[in-house]
Amino acid sequence: MAAYIIRRVIWTVPVVLLVILVTFLLMRQIEGNPFRKTERAVPAAVQENLERKFKLDKPWYVQYAQYVKGVVTLDLGPSLVLRDRSVNDIVKEQFPRSIELGLYAFGWAVLFGVPAGIVAALRPNSRFDYGAMLFSNVGFALPNFLVATLLIYYVSLKWGLLPTSGWESWKHKLLPSLTLGLVPMAYFARLVRGTMLETLQADYVRTAKAKGLRWRRVVGVHVLRNSLIPVVTAAAPLLGYIITGSFIVENIFAVPGIGRYYVTAVSARDYSVVMGLTVLLSIIVILANLLVDVLYGILDPRTREART
């Protein structure tokens, strides 16, 4: 088990380096990227900073190494556009809000999606089941900008219940997190229903019933435990969606987070920020994958002893 974890961790390192390398090489192709003695007009102070930071007169692999060193020491360089702020400053300020948004969205998804899936599986082909699956399918298909717009239109404007934008109080946080959580909710409902239905057909569930155990125990202990394991592993792609979705949701609800800032930075050609954010988001996803794999190893006794 420990060997499994260690192996997984070790493999993460080259992958992170590779992702940074790819991003780095990509960035160098862009006009106005931070790694060239630049043709564009960048404020002198920033230019000095850049040269110092990224060793712009050295060959590209030295620049790359320098950047990696920066990442490891959590120093992502200066912003190309905002004179007196570094990428770190921006991240420190905006990132926590995005994390909050993401966590709430995930919370909604677990709170509503998982129980819906469980109940749907326990009453297959019932009205609840059809309803839940219909809701789930629609949830997947509706673009979140539509959901956001409709929610704002009705809840904020027509009924005046909640504010339309910002991130100050819980009232501000409700609509954006709900919007972002819709797709994960739909995903969980479907996934949990699927795994539970499958598990309910398993031989060992039949054995449990044959033992005369109360249905509550059969479901609660035998079925759920085995059904929820795949749900854990599904958390990783969900993170990818939450990041993607946050770009839109933060944009519409004017939440001052990383998603919104990424788009702003691209439009403003602040590629130093773009680079930093891309690397940051990638690392988060990779670490999340690692965490999920480890968790899976803990939850399923069979993997603990598996060889490579």
Partner: protein
């Protein structure tokens, strides 16, 4: 116990009541199963309907989709304008069809590109096997779940311009991981499947095995994958365009139309609702079709 062998009985075959179950080929079976799924059939029909609408409507429409005529602006749905008009007085019914051509086109283009990349990667990994396969898969594993949007945005920034083809490229580069893994998994299963070994044992050559056994199965999976990837790509294009990083005027896609409609949604919601619903409907149908295909092609899926 009798020592003499039993006589061959009369009437072994052809007793009508109680006759054994009939057989049919894999494809016929699958098609029949698919047809039984009314939801999937309906979805497939709507899907084709939408595609047809996008192709035909601009050709037969009496309105010029680019003609700016402010007095007509912001009209709601009516007989002459089934979807209403936009802020420039352009007919939305026609423009939605045009936008559909671009959105669906990018969707299919990127999906096919994803398939191509995925098939190559997966095939190489699956067939070569061993250490290379290991490394390639570890690589994929670690990249699993990386959000495509930032990378698609980056790719577009590098390419410089944004048009139909660059969108196809950007979206496919950012989203091929899952398909690659599916293809490789499929190839591995098939390579080591018992019936491939049986075919070898009977003396079939590799080519025959490939064409008669591997390909039909893989084709099924690939078709399903198309309908699974399509929604993601279409939504991806919509997101990019909505954020202003995608398709630009005078071209329009559903995403960019939604962005256009965003400012005026308070007073004229149909500008954003219509293209969004178009996206949603197409995505929904693709999902149902994918499910239907999956159930139809996998004989082991139970019917609850």
């Amino acid at each position: 116990m009798s020592a003499a062998p039993l006589p061959i009985p009369a009437g072994v075959s052809g007793v009508s009541a109680g006759a054994p179950i009939r057989q049919s080929s894999l494809w016929q079976d699958a098609w029949r199963r698919y047809l039984r799924n009314r939801g999937a059939v309906l979805a497939g029909g709507i899907f084709l309907l939408i595609v047809g609408y996008c192709i035909i409507a601009p050709i037969v429409s009496p309105h010029d989709p680019n003609r700016v005529h402010f007095p007509d602006a912001y009209q709601g749905p009516s007989w002459s304008h089934p979807f209403g008009t936009d802020q420039f007085g352009r007919d939305l019914f026609t423009r939605t069809a045009l936008g559909g051509r671009i959105s669906i086109g990018i969707g299919f283009g990127a999906t096919l590109a994803i398939l191509a990349i995925g098939v190559v990667y997966g095939a190489v990994s699956g067939f070569v096997g061993g250490k290379l396969d290991n490394a390639m898969m570890r690589f994929l594993d670690a990249l699993y779940g990386l959000p495509y949007l930032p990378f698609a945005i980056l790719a577009l920034a590098i390419i410089g311009t944004v048009n139909f083809w660059t969108m196809v490229v950007a979206l496919s580069i950012a989203s091929w991981f899952i398909t690659a893994r599916v293809v490789r998994g499929q190839i591995l299963t098939l390579k080591e499947n018992d019936y491939v070994r049986a075919a070898h044992a009977v003396g079939l050559r590799s080519y025959a095995i490939l064409s008669r056994h591997l390909l039909p199965n893989t084709l099924g999976i690939l078709v399903i994958t198309i309908f699974l990837e399509l929604p993601g790509v279409i939504l991806g294009e919509a997101f990019l365009s909505f954020l202003g990083l995608g398709i630009n005027p005078p071209d329009a896609s559903w995403g960019s139309m939604a962005q256009d409609g965003r400012d005026a949604y308070r007073a004229h919601p149909h500008l954003i609702v219509i293209p969004s619903l178009a996206i949603a409907t197409l995505v929904l149908c693709a999902n149902f079709v994918a499910d239907g295909l999956r159930d139809a092609l996998d004989p082991r899926t139970r019917e609850t």
